[in-house]
Symmetry: C2
Subunit: 242 residues, 2 copies
């Protein structure tokens, strides 16, 4: 299970690259596999569309049981909303003698990639929440947003919006406005580390007017976060020291 990072060679660790290069079979979303054509050339691809995770993992496990070296790739970190959990669960349900050996390779996750582009918004405690309600009850997601707001966490929203799911982000905005100022900085990074990378710095009141899609990461500042020269910064608390 390999985290490929944002989707370019320069932000992929040597450990991840070696895992992909040494694999005979690559499994992952087609969208992500296409980002690294030079690494997967000549290999067998188990490419599937979104939302076929279980099938893909099963095919990867079957191949590993037949003796192949398989890299199951996720964009970002395989361990953060990636494929690592599902595949480990499926492997550990097998009788021990049929379990293929596996290793998890961490990658730069979207929140870290986006933060580096926005400035330094993660200098203090933060919460990471996915707005996808395909597998998670929407009420639980909203409760988490509320708790993160109450704790004055910087909040990173994964999967903020998809073609079919456009309303969740507005509900989240409404909840957050109960707790934070209208002018709280909000950063949106779309396609971080890819050719069409886009950075927007907006406010809690206005950010839902910006283009947000399934390749966006939304970062909402805490009560101390500020914007200067188009950088978003959450101070750690050194102010009194200099």
């Amino acid at each position: 299970m390999v985290g490929m990072g944002p989707g370019n060679i320069f932000d992929m660790t040597p450990r991840a690259r070696r895992a992909i290069e040494s694999a005979e079979i690559i499994a992952g979303y087609n969208t992500y596999i296409q980002l690294i054509p030079e690494l997967v050339a000549g290999k067998k691809i188990i490419g599937t569309a979104m939302m076929q995770e279980v099938d893909r993992c099963q095919m990867a496990i079957d191949a590993a049981q037949r003796g192949f070296n398989v890299a199951v790739i996720s964009s970002g970190d395989a361990g953060v909303y990636g494929m690592a959990g599902l595949i480990i669960e499926m492997i550990l349900k097998l009788p021990e003698n049929l379990q293929p050996k596996f290793e998890i390779v961490a990658g730069i996750s979207a929140v870290n990639a986006a933060a580096a582009i926005l400035g330094a918004p993660l200098m203090h405690d933060f919460a990471v929440i996915s707005l996808s309600d395909l597998l998670t009850d929407w009420e639980l997601i909203k409760r988490r947003v509320r708790c993160a707001a109450e704790g004055d966490f910087v909040i990173a929203l994964y999967n903020p919006k998809s073609k079919r799911r456009v309303e969740n982000i507005f509900e989240v905005q409404k909840i957050l406005l109960e707790y934070r100022e209208k002018n709280t900085p909000v950063g949106i990074v779309t396609n971080a580390g890819r050719n069409d990378e886009r950075k927007i710095i907006s406010t809690l009141e206005n950010f839902t007017r910006e283009e947000i899609n399934m390749f966006s990461l939304v970062l909402i500042g805490n009560s101390k976060t500020f914007v200067k020269s188009n950088f978003m910064i959450t101070p750690r608390g050194y102010e009194n020291k200099f």
Copy 2:
């Protein structure tokens, strides 16, 4: 500002490596600089001990203003409790014509490195909290722990314990036990990705008996997290699909 990742060459991105190699001057904690002797050989080092962050940043900025290419390195991700925020703040306070150009290079943060070692504990929403009360009010930290517990977030604790600060982790444990079962899985990874890496899987009731130090990352499971074959897994919610 360069995030070097956990502290070995294999988990450092090519972008970070290139930034360090192309710098004439390296600034950072001595402890971390010593992890990458082959990359810093022959360079001028602005090495300082812990808690001299402001001095170190000032020296780095001075050198950059004199025309040198300076890499300010943090372990993990420069953007997560690293040096990125402080140095950007200090640079942006300067008159525009005196501001050196800068770039932030993300790295694998401790929470991601630890998760990969523990299994797949971050498959669902999580909160990242530092227990260091040097720069943050202890009451605020405790409030965040409480909010994260209420939201059933997986919780990653940075700086869980230092030589001078040994009690905070017990207070946190006590708060969490109000919200979560005694047998909630807790993972402790010390020196992730370094020679003396150590992984422990314990429970919320017992984890404070284990060795925890300033190089440890503590990961507390949510209500669904389970342990199997010494792996810690937080299910994403695919159970009904396979």
